[in-house]
Amino acid sequence: MKLSEVEIAKDKSNYLRGTIRESLSNDVTGALYHDDTHLIKFHGSYQQTDRDIDSERKAQKLEPLYSFMIRVRVPGGVATPAQWLRMDELADEFGNNTMKLTTRQAFQLHGIYKKSLKPAIQGFNQVLLDSIAGCGDVNRNVMCNPNPYLSPFHEEVYQMSAKISEHFTPKTSAYWDIWLNGEQLSDKSANDLVSSVITQAVEHDDEPIYTKHYLPRKFKIALAIPPYNDVDIFANDIGLVAIEENGNLTGYNVAIGGGFGMTFGMPDTFPRLASMIGFVGKDKVVDVCEKVLTIQRDWGNRENRKFSRLKYTIERVGLDVFVNEMQNRLGFALDLPKPFTFKSNGDSFGWSKNTNGNFNLTLFIEGGRIVDKAEYKLKTALKKVAELNDGDFRLTGNQNLMICNLTVTSKKFAEKILEQYGVLQETFKQTGLRLNSIACVALNTCTLAFAEAERYLPSLIDKIDVIVRELKLEKENIVIRMTGCPNGCARPYLGEIAFIGRAIGKYNMYLGASHSGERLNKLYKEMLDENGMLNELRIVLSDYAQNKTSDERFGDFTIRKGYVKATEHGRDFHK
């Protein structure tokens, strides 16, 4: 057995410490020592370069412009106004003046130079945010429907996501040692800066759940309350569907083995939706998650990272064998899954009212990027709303933002601010297609990108919008997703329309996912340039406008009309 490079780095790392300290104090380079670039992911940060100027700088005999992305965990996507304000401030002080709301309801700061990492991390630590396990071979930010008004037991499900998140947070004190001089904020639930107690972190250097080598690969969990699947639970290693019986939350349907990364030209890599394996009562759900995670810990592939996600472990041993092992370790069997229906994996925009009389607002944030542009000062507007210090800020799984639980008075103020800066108008004027768009980060920071995504999709949609409006489809909620590579960060394989980057300016086009996130799409055309994409879309959208049945979703239509075959299982994705 030949362990992968990352496994060796983990092994040598003394619970994720490695030589990060030495890396930070080396002032000859803006980069870390090689092994530390793997380890720092577990601390929530990636080393990146400004790819726009890589070759320019090389010619200038300068190293690439290294900087770091930090991913700040927000379980269930819920942040306080104080936390929002701090992130806003840190983006300006240490980052590239933007915040990215991710597809997993987290914050990302980009463009942080090595020497600013520590002050930045300390900066959000003060508002009780951390980036532990933001990335790395551990359980990632746990997702949950952000919208409290959707369901009376939303709070309960949200609390469960926080509990799962807490349960799987690594216990090593490396993070506190390295970034916070050994100080750990002891009361994680306290939101008040002044009263939060700082204590010396306990020297925790064993990992009861993960053990020394952590997981073979990243691990993801999401919880959804039907009929809303806005967190795309089937894209996760574990997807939990809240089940209501007689007005009570009884437990969760459990689906396992979802995951999206694949590599072009390697048909044995593929996106896979999680398989439904049964129902579990709410008191046992953490236990079930732990067993699934630890079996993956023990059985997952540690030699080739291309095949180390849970989905491949399940494909390798068989779902039955996996579930058997899980039930053996649990000491009980799961019940049959309970019936439920998902309607959509998108967000619903605009104002809504809570049972307590307070108000929620969902805003469309293009590409999840909070930035001030000359003509559109989104960042400032949201900062002003946060300064009202009321309600909370909820990041959706579609890179959008909810401002929740505003009192009537705050609502009035917020509305005024948002109108003044054109933010409300920006949400309300969009076509259904744009409102249902997401794009991954891609260039210029993502090291893995082959093509543009976030920076390009808006202008492509400008052109698609012309077609959509011509065809009078502007009200149709059509899910469109773009990524700069096949890793699938914007969950493109669940896009009714998806463009996945192959090379600069060249995309593969996929069609046929269901609108509810329950069926993968399929390759329709390869290596299209912009004209190619627009031409193909015009054909299919025209057909849709003329021949769709009354409630027919675009994804279902493309299957019915045979543009692509339905993908029944990840294994058949390439067929």
Partner: protein, 607 residues
């Protein structure tokens, strides 16, 4: 052909197979020389032969194999290493190397060269291969008549430019005269099998025939070529050498407040021989803009015909090419006073004359246009020219080692640009190089040797080099030279500039030297990266203990760059270190440092 005198044909055969034409030719001369020497002095059996060339050694002496990989994500590295292991198993001496670390000038000496390279972007070389790729596809690529090669290309057939970089190497190596041992193999995403096939055919092509039926005839004996000693040629301001610009790079990253140019000039056929520490002089011409400004304020016609250096010329031509306009001197003011006899200028000038400090302040940042503007007078072409001085050359510390870059000289030039007295101005020489000359253009240059600012004679002596800004230039030459000669002395560099991200001149080169251990220490002072300003002297003070240790170990100290402020600040820092670490009084410490200067263990190249 029949071998004479009962020679072992097997030995001759081996020689033929193992050595290329040039080597055989050399060998023939060498043997001839040996035979002559033997006859003359009666050398017996103990005559020393070059090891491994003749005799028993010969069977083991296979030509060295170089395998270069250009990889981004590691695939080609793996393939190259695999090939390396298998070729090594055949008894070859194999060097598997990252292209990024390969000194391109070694290329021409390669006998057996294998290239394993992937393709990125849209048909571009991976970053690690960029330099070599540029080198072999560029104008400076050497002819490779003695090289045998083969190429393995990795790529992805879904790209339009499938395996383009591999193709580039393959065709270009052939074009340079190298002989292809086995056809190029292009691998798709599943590269392993095809890579194995390639390795297989490489191994076959390397198979050494056990015996060969036709012997080799040594038909003529030639003496080894006599290397003619290069004669040092004297170039000067009057008779400069026109050096072609081979490369021109802005070293500061985007957003920098600085503008520093790296320039590479060709010295081919000049006979110029320099050593690190020398300076190169540039003879610039003025910008059209300043000439236009002069003509405007003086209201003179550029076409005015004038006498110039025992001939005739036009005013415009002389102003552009022959005289200095960007700098004014006391002498200029004096001569101008002979023409501008108005009382206001005369009064002004005598007040400057009376106070050198004021004079200095006055000339700093003023050019000829400023003076003509401020104190106008009626001018003719002749009177104007009578005040001006012939364009002086500007010196630049040489930033390269001739052994690292044969036939080239490199400079590090800071562009002088500033706004003063209502006009945007530029330095004449730095502006000339930055704005008006490009790759392919020629520039008039001559060498100025510097006898003292030199590497220590003893290459075991440690050196400590302090050089912020363009002061780094000669140290690039020093370190290159020490790397080339394998000098054992330790090398410590202290550099400073405003910002780490944009102003770390030659960053990637220094990183490389650190990695290789050529550079022992590198301390950096980026003055504007934090609230308080940190300069090189602060770094020296912070490391005072080590500095003192180095000094006590006989280190030679070098300071290069800004004369006005930096050089004295640094000297004060050294004095303070001597005080603190050597427990000397200020007076003694000052004397100690003075003495170092006197004994030329503390050298300066400041301007």
């Amino acid at each position: 052909m029949q071998a004479p005198l009962g020679l072992d044909t097997q030995v001759l055969n081996d020689l033929f197979i193992r050595y290329d034409d040039k080597q055989l030719l050399w060998l023939s001369g060498y043997l001839y020389g040996l035979s002559v020497a033997k006859n003359a002095t009666g050398f017996g059996a103990d005559t020393k032969l070059a090891p491994g060339i003749i005799g028993n050694g010969i069977a083991e002496k296979l030509p060295p194999v170089t395998i270069l990989y250009g990889s981004q994500t590691g695939n080609t590295k793996k393939a190259a290493q695999k090939a390396g292991e298998q070729i090594k198993a055949k008894g070859f001496d194999v060097n598997v190397m990252d292209m990024a670390e390969y000194p391109t000038k070694k290329l021409k000496d390669e006998k057996l060269l294998f290239i394993v390279v992937s393709t990125y972007g849209e048909g571009e070389p991976p970053a690690a291969a960029e330099e070599l790729h540029k080198f072999i596809t560029g104008t400076r690529a050497p002819k490779l008549p003695d090289t045998k090669f083969a190429v393995l290309a990795l790529g992805d057939s879904s790209y339009v430019e499938f395996c383009k970089t591999g193709v580039d190497f393959d065709t270009k190596l052939e074009a340079l005269g190298a002989k292809r041992l086995t056809p190029r193999v292009d691998c798709d995403v599943d590269w392993h099998d095809k890579a194995d096939e390639w390795i297989e055919s490489v191994l076959n092509s390397l198979e050494i025939p056990k015996s060969s039926s036709n012997g080799y005839a040594i038909t003529s004996l030639t003496n080894g070529a006599v290397k003619t000693l290069e004669k040092k040629v004297e170039y000067s301001r009057k008779t400069p050498f026109a050096a072609e610009i081979l490369e021109k790079i802005q070293l500061n990253g985007r957003g920098s407040t600085k503008e520093t140019w790296h320039l590479e000039f060709s010295l081919a056929d000049s006979g110029i021989v320099y050593t690190p520490g020398d300076a190169l002089h540039i003879l610039p011409t003025n910008s059209e803009r300043i000439v236009a400004e002069i003509l405007k304020v003086s209201q003179l016609d550029p076409k005015t015909v004038i006498e110039w250096e025992s001939g005739t010329s036009t005013l415009g031509e002389v102003l552009l090419n022959k005289v200095e306009l960007s700098v004014i001197t006391r002498d200029f003011l004096k001569k101008y006073a002979e023409i501008n006899t108005g009382s206001s200028f005369i009064v002004h000038r005598s007040s400057l004359e009376a106070d050198p400090k004021k004079l200095h302040e006055y000339v700093y940042g003023r050019d000829v246009v400023d003076v003509l503007n401020e104190f106008p007078t009626d001018l003719t072409a002749q009177t104007l020219l009578s005040c001006l001085k012939k364009m002086p050359s500007r010196a630049y510390s040489i930033a390269s080692s001739l052994s690292a870059h044969p036939d080239e000289v490199h400079l590090t030039v800071g562009a002088v640009r500033y706004e003063k007295y209502g006009r945007a101005k530029q330095g004449v020489a730095s502006g000339f190089l930055a704005d008006r000359k490009n790759i392919g253009d020629s520039v008039n240059v001559f060498l100025e040797t510097n006898e003292f600012f030199k590497l220590p004679k003893d290459n075991k002596t440690d050196i400590l080099m302090v050089g912020p800004g363009t002061g780094i230039a000669p140290y690039r030459a020093f370190v290159e030279e020490r790397a080339e000669t394998g000098a054992e002395g330790k090398n410590w560099l202290v550099f400073g500039n405003p910002h780490f991200t944009t102003d770390f001149l030659y960053q990637s080169e220094w990183q490389n030297y650190l990695k290789k251990g050529v550079l022992t220490r590198l301390d950096l002072a980026f003055s504007r990266d934090q609230a308080e300003k940190i300069y090189v002297q602060h770094r020296l003070l912070q490391k005072s203990k080590q500095v003192w240790e180095w000094i006590n170990n006989g280190t030679t100290l070098y300071v290069c760059g800004d004369k006005n402020k930096m050089a004295s600040d640094v000297e004060r820092a050294f004095v303070a270190i001597a005080q603190k670490e050597g427990s000397l009084t200020e007076e003694k410490a000052t004397e100690f440092i003075k003495n170092l200067k006197k004994t030329r263990r503390y050298l300066e190249d400041v301007y």
